[in-house]
């Protein structure tokens, strides 16, 4: 009872500690939380975090940041993808910060003006259930999602949320609106299951509910860790390329603890964090000098989709009405 009363008193009375930082993140909680706790231990700065729910991945906390713009509550946004921070940049909610630790990050993965910095990347992959798909039939392209051979046997996450939004935007940017719309129409006609999240795609593939699905490398890594009978396919290696998505960190304008925010960003951009993200969540390090564990590919080994992350932000906003209509919401 004493602990309870103390918790109430502390929570209500000592709302803002001097040495604390508030971070909103759409990076999966099982991976981001240990890193934040470790920073807390080493720096002595108390970290208060808001994690996204899987269903609204990347947009739930993003929208909370926008809703709180008049009275910012957060200092740092650690995004699971590189596009959503542009929506904050566009609204003037981001403070420029060039971290000294970002020097070794390749220039295509960071903004020259310091508005955003990428690190620890994921890729969009096809997760295949080996019990349902013979080696000879292994899909090689996201176009296999529209193949009649797999009618009603595939899944992808709701493109209104998460990295699927970015992937669809990349297709619109790369293929053009008519072809991308046609692809979406074919997916629906082919009975692809539209599920709540990438994690749900993983669960359905791992459980054999569908033959294969479109998801992210970290979800695939979890399925492999759980010894599910799955295989990872990096799609379109002989064509369009695989979509690469660095996680991205930005300093928020008007946050209550800007200095602590900068310290947290510096910490996130160290090689050690990239290494940990590679080991724990199969994120691909962007630095050349960070070793990758077995099973984790390097970005340089892949044929990557050619995308302009800033442009994708604009496309992503533009196609929302179409996506809502497509999903029926």
């Amino acid at each position: 009872m004493k602990t309870l009363l103390l918790t109430i008193a502390l929570s209500l009375g000592c709302n803002r500690q001097a040495r604390e930082v508030v971070v909103y993140t759409s990076v999966d909680q099982p991976f981001s939380e240990p890193i934040l706790r470790d920073f807390e231990r080493r720096s002595g700065i108390h970290v208060r975090a808001v994690y996204d729910t899987e269903e609204t991945k990347s947009t739930g906390v993003l929208n909370r940041l926008i809703a709180e713009a008049n009275q910012p509550q957060a200092d740092v946004f650690w995004s699971g993808d590189p596009v959503r921070p542009f929506l904050l940049v566009k609204r003037g909610l981001v403070e420029r910060y060039r971290s000294p630790n970002a020097a070794a990050i390749p220039s295509q993965f960071k903004a020259a003006d310091g508005t955003w910095t990428g690190f620890a990347a994921r890729a969009r992959i096809l997760l295949v259930n080996k019990k349902r798909v013979a080696p000879s039939e292994m899909p090689r392209s996201i176009r296999d999602l529209e193949s009649p051979r797999w009618k009603g046997q595939t899944a992808l996450a709701n493109p209104l949320y998460g990295t699927t939004t970015m992937h669809v935007a990349a297709l619109f940017a790369d293929l053009g609106a008519p072809a991308a719309s046609g692809f979406l129409g074919n997916l629906k006609a082919n009975g692809a299951r539209i599920v709540g999240s990438n994690g749900e795609v993983k669960r359905l593939v791992a459980a054999g509910e569908v033959a294969f699905g479109l998801t992210d490398t970290d979800d695939a890594h979890e399925a492999l860790e759980e010894k599910a009978p799955v295989e990872v396919v990096y799609p379109d290696q002989d064509g369009l390329g695989t979509l690469i998505m660095p996680t991205t960190v930005v300093l928020l304008r008007g946050g209550p603890h800007a200095d602590a925010g900068r310290k947290l960003i510096d910490d996130l951009l160290t090689p050690e964090v990239e290494k940990r993200m590679a080991e724990a969540a199969a994120h691909m390090p962007l630095r050349a000098d960070v070793a990758t564990p077995a099973g984790v590919r390097r970005v340089s080994e892949l044929r990557a989709m050619k995308v302009d992350y800033a442009e994708l932000g604009a496309v992503m906003e533009r196609i929302q009405p179409l996506l809502r209509e497509w999903t029926g919401l």
């Binding site: 602990t3 947009t59 957060a74 599920v195 709540g196 929302q320």
Partner: protein, 528 residues
């Protein structure tokens, strides 16, 4: 010299009620007014809200949501009323144990139960197949899970009301009719207000449920609202526009509640008959016992699956994954329940005593309860995230405000039901000898109804503990309650750890309910 004091004394009851009303208005009404204000002053194109509501798809989703809510309500009544009869009025063996097990799921977040059912009927579930999986991930599966989740509300209210019927009424009927005819024609008629209240609660909860339909991939109206709040083109204006039909529905539900339930529920839910008329089942006792057993199994099955999925490894990892969320839940829920109980004593008593000012406060509390939680969440965010109120918005206080707004009706109605059972003359006698209102509350109302007040606190506490949808939009950074933590870990956390956290949530609620039961038993059997 005493004039101001005299004036204060004369109007003390109104002042108490006014102060309670102010708190309720700030918690529940202000967010709605701010939302409406935002809609009116929106800088979005004037056609925005109108265009949103002009979409045929939106109305189709609303119709589907209403269909699901109606089906869940009808089925929950169809199952819950007979179960209520079996548990409260028959001699079926083991009925009270079965009742307790059957009722338990109503204290848990529905998405946890859906997760439990997935472990049974998903393709690779314990009883899973492709067919069972297809059935689970469908509108039928959604309705079945919501029926299993919400039927205990009907059962409990029906059983409670059946225990309160005046035995003389039924005894008179028994002279000329068989027991079953008495049960269906007299008893059922007498408990109609309780059944109407149960139907209203189940309908409102089904209509605003978001987690289970999202999990089962059934598109419903709350998903459309959430898409405007969770999508890339954040459109709170459109979300508010979509809320307008729901507000209309909430008002219709409110009118229905006034018309068919209102203060009638105080009479049918509060009284306790000294003698109960029990229907002897005779050779049907086995059937009654099997029905009770089946109800208990349905209640326990998803919990069993979660505990099984957690295993020893999951439970051993709980401390690492739990963080401070359990303490946050307990702290926030105890504080919110205490505030709701304090408000409930003032408003619930006034409601039971038919004070005119209590009716609009009760209506407001009911509106906040039947309204979709995401609407209240957005309103609270818009109201409290300002520089002047930053200390509140960034602390546990905002969660307490959210829960107080949403679940206040639970404490006010529970206390009103308790107070309505006692005669007014005790308070009148005290007032006649000059006892001020505050003292009458402390010395008469509270001691006399301590069990009802304790039950109100407990119910409010448990409702807060199980809440997810109200606070998920605005909980303070680093201070998430346990339900939110389970929800954010659900897709990517280790399944065994997530299942173990869900089992912990269940154990906490079970512990609280069992503790209350033991305390009540001790109070009954202890020295007088």
């Amino acid at each position: 010299m005493d004039r101001p004091l005299t004036v204060f004394r004369r109007h003390e009851e109104q002042l108490y009620l006014g102060a309670a009303g102010l708190v309720i208005a700030v918690a529940a009404l202000l967010p709605l007014l701010v939302l409406c204000g935002q809609l009116v002053s929106s800088t979005a194109p004037a056609s925005g809200p109108a265009a949103t509501l002009a979409s045929a798809r939106i109305w189709l989703l609303l119709a589907r949501s209403l269909g699901v809510a109606a089906a869940v309500t009808a089925l929950a009544l169809g199952v819950g009323v007979p179960l209520g009869f079996i548990f409260a009025r028959t001699d079926a063996p083991g009925r009270w144990v079965a009742f307790a097990l059957h009722a338990f799921p109503m204290f848990l977040p529905p998405f946890l139960l859906a997760l439990g059912w997935f472990h049974w009927f998903g393709r690779q579930g314990l009883l899973g197949s492709e067919t069972s999986s297809r059935a689970l991930f469908s509108a039928g599966g959604l309705i079945a899970i919501l029926v299993a989740t919400f039927t205990p509300i009907v059962t409990s209210l029906a059983a409670l009301a059946l225990s309160a019927i005046d035995p003389a009424l039924e005894e008179a009927a028994r002279v000329v009719a068989r027991p079953w005819r008495v049960a269906t024609h007299i008893s059922l008629g007498a408990i109609r207000p309780a059944l109407a209240l149960a139907a209203l609660i189940v309908f409102a909860l089904s209509l605003s449920e978001l987690g289970v339909p999202t999990f089962l991939r059934v598109d419903l109206y709350p998903s459309a609202v959430f898409a405007r709040l969770g999508g890339v083109d954040y459109a709170p204006g459109e979300a508010v526009a979509l809320v307008l039909p729901l507000l209309g529905l909430a008002l219709i539900l409110l009118v229905a509640e006034r018309r068919f339930v209102g203060a009638r529920s105080f009479a049918v839910l509060g009284a306790r008959a000294a003698e109960r008329f029990t229907i002897p089942l005779g050779r049907w006792r086995v059937v009654g016992a099997l029905a009770g057993l089946l109800a208990a199994v349905v209640g326990l099955a998803p919990l069993g699956a979660l505990i099984g999925r957690a295993g020893l490894g999951g439970f051993s990892s709980v401390p690492a994954w739990m963080g401070g969320s359990l303490w946050n839940s307990l702290a926030e829920a105890s504080l919110a329940a205490s505030i709701m109980t304090a408000l409930g004593i003032v408003v619930g008593r006034a409601l039971a005593r038919r004070r005119r000012a209590a009716a609009p406060l009760d209506a407001l509390a009911m509106l906040a309860f039947v309204m979709p939680a995401s609407v209240l969440g957005v309103g609270i965010l818009a109201t409290w995230n300002r520089s002047a109120t930053a200390a509140i918005y960034g602390s546990l206080a905002i969660v307490v405000i959210g829960w107080t707004a949403r679940y206040l009706i639970v404490s006010t109605r529970t206390i009103a039901i308790a107070v309505a059972q006692s005669p007014l003359h005790l308070e009148e006698a005290a007032a006649a000898v000059g006892s001020p209102f505050g003292r009458r509350l402390r010395r008469i109302v509270m001691p006399l109804h301590r069990r009802g007040i304790a039950a109100a606190w407990l119910l409010a506490f448990v409702f807060c503990l199980r809440d997810l949808e109200t606070v998920v939009l605005f909980y303070p950074a680093g201070r998430e309650p346990l339900t939110v933590r389970i929800f954010t870990l659900e897709a990517n956390g280790p399944p065994a750890a997530v299942a173990a956290l869900a089992a912990l949530q269940i154990a906490v609620v079970a512990g609280v309910v069992a503790g209350a039961g033991v305390a009540q038993l001790a109070a009954r059997t202890g020295p007088r």
